[in-house]
Symmetry: C2
C-alpha cells in the first residue's frame, strides 16, 4: 500500500494537477479495502457523500484562487479530540458526548483545506502505550497483526500507516504519539507543551498533555505544525513560545540502555547510531538515570492522580464503564496525597535542573522510541508491566518540557517497525523537525509487505535490513 | 529614633567619611537601647566583639582600596534563613539546627561588606501575617506596641524600623515581607519568584517562597537587590529572568475593596490614590475577584499541603513542639488529596491567564498592603480569621507570579503605619522599584514618635496626616 503525503497532495490540489474530489475517491476506495483488515482502527467515520461534498467545496475554493496549505489533504483525529459531527468517546462508549465545537487544531486544519475522514481508536482515556485497551477492539501493527500497534494513539498511527489519511492527530502525554509511530514506520511529532492548543481535548494529565501528529515524513509534520501551531488564549496551558534556534552538532545518547531482551531493537539502534556518526555528528554519552527517575513520577508517582482528576466524576459515577486495566491505573490516583504531590513537584524540579544542564553539552538527545514490541496476546496477559516497558524512553519528555520527533529506523525480522526519537529542549521544534528530515533523507528502509491476511501472519517473516 | 540608610552608610564607609567600626559602635548602642523595649525582635545576635572584629576587617578592606557595595551596612536575617554562626530556628526551638553554610543571599551580602547583626523573630515556620505566633515573644508595631508588628517577618521589620539595622531579610510567601512593612512604615520588597536564590531557606511553600528585604526606602531595596539577586544553579526554583522594561503610565486599582471596617485605612488609601492621580498617572479599575479566588488556594485550598510537606517529618515526630495555631494550619494539609492538588493547579492556571491579560490594560497594580491592623490581644483571641484579613491584598501575588514593593502611605490616628503596594508582572522588579522611589520622593509622611514606654500606649494618639 502506498502512503499519502500531505505536502504532495496539497501542492497537487492547489496547482490543479488533481482535485480534492479525486483524492477523496481514492481514499474511499482505500477505506473500503482496509476495512476488511482492521476496521477497529476507526471509532467513527464520515459518510462517503460527506467527504465528497467537502472535497467539492475545497475544489471550489481553489478554483476561486484561494491557496489552502492543506488543500484536499485527508486526515484523521484521535477520538479524544473534539470534531463537530462526531461523538467524542475517548475510547469509552458510556463517556461519549457529541462535540459541539472543533478542537482548535482540528479547526485550523479544516480552515487550511484538510478533509476530516474520521475519528480513530485509542487506549481508553489515552491511558496506555500499546493500543489494546479499547472496547472498540485492538488496532494492530500494520506489518504484523500479531503485534500491538502501539498506543494510546493506535488508530491514528494505523490509519496513517495504512495510507488511509496523510496525517492523523494523536495525543502524547507519556509517549502515545511516538511509540505507535515506531511500530508502524511513521514520523510521530510531539510538539513542545503549549505550542499547539489543547482546547477541545479530553485531558489525560492536563499539565502534560500534547496533541501530536503522525505523518509519513518529518516535512509533512512541519507542514501540519505550521498550520495548527500557535498561542491560543482559550487554552490555559498554551504558551507563547518564540522558536529557539539550535543547530545540531552534538547528539546525546544514553550510556546504558535496557532492551527488554530484544536483540533486534538493539541491532537496529546500533545501526542508526553508526549512521548518525557517519553523517558527521558528534556523539556524547549521557546518564539517563535522572530522566528515568522523572519518568517514574508519571505512573509510579503523584501524576497518576492527574489521570484520576481528569475523569474523577465519571470514575465515581460509572466505574464499571471503564476498561479494567485503565480503571486500576486511574483508581491508583485516589490514594495519592497532596503532600506527596508537592513532594513530587520538588523532585521534578531537581530533574528539570539536570535536564536543563544537559543542553549545555548536547544539542539533541537520541533514544530508541521503544525498547521492544509485544504481541497483543502477551500484552493482554501482562498489561501493566509490558506497557511500562514501552514507555522507558518516552515517559519523561513532557514532564521535563522537551519536544520530540520519532522517526523510523528499520524493521525487525518479524516485520514490526523500530524507531528512534530525537528529543530537544523546549521550543526547538523547528530545529528538531529539520534534523529529523535530514535523517529521513539519508536513511531509507525497505518496507516489508503489509499484513493484509485475515489470519495474523506468523512470526517468521525474513527481511534484510537495507540502507 | 533615626533610621539607617544602607546606601548612605556604604557611601560614607567607602569614601572614608566614617568607618565601619564607628557604624558598629552606634549600632551596639542602639541595640542596648531598644533591648529595653522589644528584645523579642531578635532570636539570636552577634556578640559586640564579633561585630567590632567584622567592622575592622571591612575597614581594612576599604583601606586596601576595595570598593564594597554594602561596606559597613548593618543587617539582620529572619531566623528561617541560614547564617553561619547562628542556629536556624524558624521560630521553633525544638526544630533548631546550627547553620553550616550561609544562605546565598546572606553570603552575597557579606561578600559585599555588610555586617550581620543577628537573627530575627518570626511567625513560626513563616506561617502567619501578624507576628504573634512565636514562642520567642510577639514583636509589636514600633509606633504602638498594643498592635501587632505584622508578620511573618516580624523581627526583621521591627529591627529595621527601630533603626537597629539598615536592611533585614525577610521572607514572603503570602505577604510576610509586605504586611509588616506597612505597619512599621517601611519599604518591603518582594522580588519576582526565582530572582533571588532561596538556597538556605527553611521552606514554607517551596514553589512560592521568596526571600524579601525591608529597608527605609526603595532605593536601598534596589541596592540590596543589585547585590544579592541573580540566578543560582543550586536552587531548583531559581530562574534566569531578563528584566522586563515597563514604563508606568496606567495604574490598576480594585473596583471594590474590603477595609474590614477600618475607616482610617480607607481614608489613607483614598489620599494615596489622589496623590497618584496628582502625579499624573492614569487610574484603571480592575476586577479583583479572580485574584482573590487565586489567593483562596493558599490557605483554603491545596497549597496548605505544601506547608505540611515543608515540615512533614517534624510534624510527625514532634507535634507538641509546634505552636498550636501553626499546627492547626499545617495539619489541615494532611487531608488534601493529590486529585484536589491537581485541580487546584488547573484553577490557578485560569487565574494566571486572567492576570496575564491584566497587564495588557495596566502597567502596575496598586492595592492597600493590608486593609487594617489588629491589637495583639485581638489577634490572640481570633488568630485565624483576623490573620486572614491581613492577607486580603497580598496572598495572590506569588501564586500569580508577580513582584511587589510595599511602601508607606501614612499613619492611622493610633500611630500604626498604613501602606500601599505596587505590584507588577514577573521580572518588572526594576521598574517597580523605580516607581516606588518616585512615590516615596513625592510623599513624605510625618512619623509619629516611637513607642518606647514599658506600658503600651493607649489607642488615643492624635496625629494629623501631613503631606
Amino acid at each position: 500500500m502506498d502512503r499519502l503525503h500531505a505536502a504532495q497532495i496539497a501542492d497537487a490540489v492547489n496547482s490543479g494537477q488533481t482535485s480534492a474530489l479525486a483524492v477523496v475517491e481514492d481514499v474511499i476506495a482505500r477505506l473500503a479495502e482496509y476495512d476488511e483488515v482492521q476496521p477497529q482502527a476507526w471509532i467513527s467515520r464520515a459518510e462517503a457523500e460527506t467527504l465528497r461534498a467537502r472535497a467539492r467545496d475545497i475544489d471550489a475554493q481553489v478554483k476561486a484562487g484561494t491557496h489552502l496549505p492543506l488543500a484536499g489533504v485527508p486526515f484523521a483525529v484521535k477520538d479524544n479530540i473534539d470534531a463537530i459531527g462526531f461523538d467524542t468517546t475517548a475510547g469509552c462508549p458510556d463517556y461519549a458526548y457529541a462535540a459541539t465545537s472543533n478542537a482548535t487544531v482540528v479547526q485550523k486544519a479544516l480552515d487550511a483545506g484538510a478533509i476530516l475522514v474520521g475519528k480513530t481508536n485509542l487506549d481508553q482515556f489515552a491511558t496506555g502505550l500499546n493500543g489494546s485497551r479499547s472496547p472498540y477492539g485492538a488496532p494492530r501493527c500494520v506489518f504484523n497483526r500479531a503485534y500491538v500497534s502501539g498506543g494510546s494513539s493506535s488508530g491514528s498511527a494505523v490509519t496513517t500507516a495504512a495510507g488511509l489519511v496523510a496525517f492523523a492527530f494523536g495525543t502524547d502525554t507519556a509517549g502515545s504519539g511516538r511509540v505507535p509511530a515506531a511500530f508502524n514506520h511513521l514520523t510521530g511529532y510531539k510538539p513542545t507543551k503549549g505550542r499547539w492548543s489543547t482546547t477541545g481535548l479530553v485531558p489525560a494529565c492536563r499539565t502534560l498533555d500534547c496533541i501530536s501528529v503522525f505523518t509519513e515524513d518529518p516535512k509533512d509534520a512541519a507542514l501540519v505544525d505550521s498550520v495548527v501551531g500557535g498561542y491560543d488564549a482559550k487554552d490555559e496551558y498554551s504558551r507563547d513560545l518564540p522558536p529557539v534556534a539550535r543547530p545540531v552538532r552534538r547528539i546525546g545518547v544514553a550510556s546504558q540502555l535496557n532492551w527488554c531482551g530484544d536483540i533486534h531493537s538493539e541491532y537496529l539502534y546500533a545501526r542508526a547510531l553508526e549512521r548518525l556518526i557517519g553523517m558527521g555528528f558528534e556523539v556524547v554519552e549521557i546518564d539517563l538515570a535522572p530522566l528515568s527517575a522523572a519518568a517514574a513520577l508519571l505512573y509510579s508517582g503523584p501524576w497518576v492522580a492527574e489521570r484520576t482528576a481528569a475523569i474523577a466524576d465519571f470514575l465515581k459515577a460509572s466505574p464499571a464503564s471503564i476498561d479494567s486495566t485503565v480503571r486500576q491505573i486511574v483508581e491508583g490516583g485516589l490514594t495519592v496525597t497532596g503532600v506527596e504531590t508537592f513532594d513530587g513537584h520538588y523532585k521534578l524540579a531537581g530533574y528539570k535542573r539536570y535536564a536543563e544542564e544537559l543542553w549545555d553539552d548536547i544539542d539533541i538527545l537520541m533514544l530508541p522510541t521503544a525498547p521492544t514490541i509485544y504481541r497483543v496476546k502477551e500484552m493482554q496477559a501482562s498489561p501493566l508491566a509490558l506497557n511500562a516497558n514501552l514507555g522507558l524512553y518516552t515517559n519523561f519528555v513532557n514532564l521535563l518540557d522537551m519536544a520530540a520527533v520519532a522517526v523510523p529506523a528499520g524493521f525487525r525480522p518479524n516485520g514490526t517497525g523500530f524507531g528512534i526519537t530525537f528529543i530537544g529542549s523546549a521550543a526547538t521544534d523547528n530545529a528538531l523537525l529539520d534534523f529529523a528530515s535530514q535523517w529521513n533523507g539519508h536513511n531509507a528502509y525497505a518496507r516489508p509487505d503489509y499484513d493484509l491476511t485475515q489470519e495474523s501472519r506468523m512470526d517468521t517473516i525474513k527481511l534484510s535490513v537495507v540502507g
